[in-house]
Symmetry: C2
Subunit: 298 residues, 2 copies
């Protein structure tokens, strides 16, 4: 495994591999790797000749009041995990090289980035699409892997790749959870004991929604109301949003049918967590809620 | 020479060529090809294994009051010219495939697109950078060729390619002119006889600026004032702007030194023409004002 810090060097390596017909699988991350990331790496290794993982805490996707400074950075541990997973290259660029002084360009998916998480994080998705475009151009992958936990991000990136005809495939893999149901996130380490306990209400609320739908409930408002009541019962929980939206347009639906996304963001103390559940004939079967748990001995 | 209308087919061909290590030179155009375009094609053929020309009148770079409908379209003649120049592929996509109904993504270079031509054409450059990104992703060139006549466009595209780490080189070729000095443009055909005659004042004004600089004048305001007086002497001329700017930041300069751009946009009747001149030690020598003229027997 090689660690590449230089942007031109990474681009040169990728370009040379591409010209040789080698397929590159790409897992873009902000580091602090957990089993969710590792599931993406494993899928990439299955489907491509070589796998590149980027580790870059992207400053432009954080708001001024957000946790850029405190975002967990465990580079040594990340390197160890990547090595264990037989990653071929870690791309580890510096922020001042990714965004030199006269940087001026942005890539934006209109509308989709302004709803749901975009309401409380207005520039977040523009930061994501801009950095992902840069990383795709540097790494030149045949396929890139993202987690379903960040459902809005996945929808926006798919839209961007389609709209801009980027020559690669986007693969979105199921959310990986702790055995008790909490969706894995690098931010979970911020939670204190009480908050960690209370946060279980998120997967429970999604499970409740799924049960209601299984029993025939199709009214989005009724489902959201029950989820809201359940989540609000936890004292440390402050709901940012709970929504049921079309999974492509991200527009709220009144009636649950087809491919919907039941999605939520809730603060526990200072920590904002997100989680979601896909519904729909095709996608519902693949949602795997609770079906994948973190293997214990890592 | 093959004409490719399908986006996925073009992308497949380019991808396959790239995997074989074939270098692709790319000349994006809106058709109505003239000697300016042909000079780009010839340069591309010199420097690459194969050359792809796109012909696409990009709707999103036209304002609502602009000439999208009337923009000259001479596809058969363009095909003939490309064949003669030994172009390998013409990429000729349809607008409704380039911009399907749910298209939402834009690529924008902030600030640079809002000055000069961006004042009277507020969404123009965002339309240009978005379509150029799409075309680059479809055609996957090693190098793309643009004309210096569209100097602001060239500056913006260079900035975008650098900022987004696009894996290709941008080459900007000297403006090609009619023997009497008028910069070639597909829009020149809109001019009536009087306007065509009056439009010569543009290259004359740039020549005047160059002479003033040669004789030691460095004050931007004095140069602009003389240009303005000269251009205003033509009854059909309505000045949109005359500016002397830094060629990278496009910010106005008070004193002409280093790499500046003397640039202007002037309306003759309904036709808006642009022209420019680069100054500076390095670039000034390559500006070739008046040094390249259209060969007569075409």
């Amino acid at each position: 495994m090689r660690i590449i810090r230089s942007i031109p060097e990474m681009q040169k390596i990728s370009g040379a591999l591409k010209r040789k017909g080698v397929t590159i699988g790409f897992v873009p991350t902000m580091g602090a790797l957990h089993e969710g990331h590792l599931s993406l790496i494993r899928q990439s290794r299955k489907e491509n000749d070589i796998t590149i993982v980027s580790i870059f805490v992207n400053p432009i996707q954080f708001g001024p009041q957000e946790d850029l400074k405190n975002y967990p950075r465990y580079f040594k541990k990340d390197v160890f995990l990547c090595q264990k997973e037989k990653v071929d290259f870690i791309f580890y660029p510096q922020a001042n090289r990714m965004y030199p002084e006269n940087f001026k360009t942005s890539v934006e998916v209109k509308e989709l980035g302004k709803v749901l998480c975009g309401v409380s994080r207005p520039n977040h998705f523009c930061g994501v699409t801009t950095v992902v475009t840069k990383l795709f151009n540097i790494v030149q992958p045949a396929a890139a892997y993202f987690g379903q936990k960040d459902a809005q991000q996945a929808t926006i990136i798919r839209r961007m790749v389609d709209d801009l005809n980027m020559p690669l495939k986007i693969k979105v893999m199921a959310t990986v959870r702790d055995p008790d149901g909490l969706a894995l996130s690098s931010r979970n380490i911020y939670l204190n004991r009480q908050e960690r306990q209370d946060s279980l209400v998120l997967s429970k609320a999604l499970g409740l929604a799924r049960e209601m739908i299984r029993h025939g409930q199709r009214n989005a408002f009724s489902i959201i109301a029950r989820m809201k009541a359940l989540i609000s019962s936890k004292r440390s929980a402050k709901i940012d949003y709970i929504a049921i939206v079309d999974s492509q347009t991200l527009k709220p639906v009144n009636t649950v049918k087809g491919n919907c996304l039941i999605t939520l963001a809730v603060r526990f103390g200072k920590t904002r967590l997100i989680d979601n559940l896909k519904t729909g004939k095709k996608i519902g079967d693949r949602s795997h809620l609770f079906s994948r748990v973190r293997s214990s001995a890592k």
